[in-house]
């Protein structure tokens, strides 16, 4: 069964450092998402991406964040200068089309900023 894969599964970084979280969405999916979940809290929307541009972003997704689909398979989230409060589980998701299809999530990357 096709799945969304994320790497790394766990990343520890120093405050102020840049991190790139990587995702390989399901092949032939067109819509891509990043979410985050701070430990014990709800899953929060960060950004959606379609046709090589951002469709929608949340207030959390400020200038420190960027997304890219550098090739036909990867979808990345970059955090330019990490803060302690960026520590969270980050989930990538993809779905096939815009309406009434399931969104499939990866296993997540646990980011710890120290």
């Amino acid at each position: 069964e096709p799945e969304v894969t994320q790497t790394p599964s766990h990343q520890v970084t120093q405050m102020g450092q840049e991190v790139i979280l990587r995702c390989v969405p399901i092949s032939n999916h067109l819509y891509f998402y990043w979410y985050r979940q701070i430990l014990g809290q709800k899953v929060e929307f960060l950004v959606s991406f379609y046709n090589n541009e951002i469709s929608e972003k949340s207030e959390i997704f400020d200038d420190q964040f960027s997304v890219e689909r550098p090739d036909g398979s990867n979808f990345t989230l970059k955090i330019r200068s990490t803060k302690l409060e960026d520590s969270a589980m980050y989930f990538c998701a993809s779905r096939g089309d815009r309406w009434n299809t399931e969104a499939f999530f990866g296993q997540g990357t646990r980011l710890t900023v120290v």
């Binding site: 979410y35 929608e56 989930f91 009434n100 969104a103 997540g108």
Partner: protein, 109 residues
């Protein structure tokens, strides 16, 4: 209440019993999805129900949707210890899903 708010927040039942979780939301939606999350793990898609559907089944899962009340319920029948997890509803109203606060289900063997 927030968009996509589940109740109860926590539920503890005996194996074999049924578990019902509810989700309420505020805005109009295209569809609503339910996900399961085992502790510290990823989100596993369970079921999608479209806004024009009222009920849907998948194995031991039964989902209902009442768009007039802006609410949905997830019923897990004949629960098993392996069903212990957090369950989230996610509403699709555009270019994003909005997740609820989740219900932590514990099934005791």
């Amino acid at each position: 209440s927030q968009q996509g708010e589940e109740d109860p927040q926590a539920l503890s039942i005996q194996e074999g019993e049924n578990a019902t979780m509810n989700c309420s939301y505020k805005t109009s939606i295209n569809n609503l999805q339910w996900y399961r999350q085992n502790s510290g793990r990823g989100l596993v898609h369970l079921i999608l129900i479209r806004s024009n559907e009222r009920e849907k089944h998948s194995g031991r899962l039964r989902v209902t949707l009442d768009t007039s009340k802006k609410s949905s319920s997830l019923l897990i029948t004949a629960s098993r210890a392996a069903d212990t997890a957090s369950y989230f509803c996610a509403t699709d109203g555009g270019y994003k899903y909005i997740f609820g606060t989740g219900t932590r289900l514990k099934v005791l063997a």
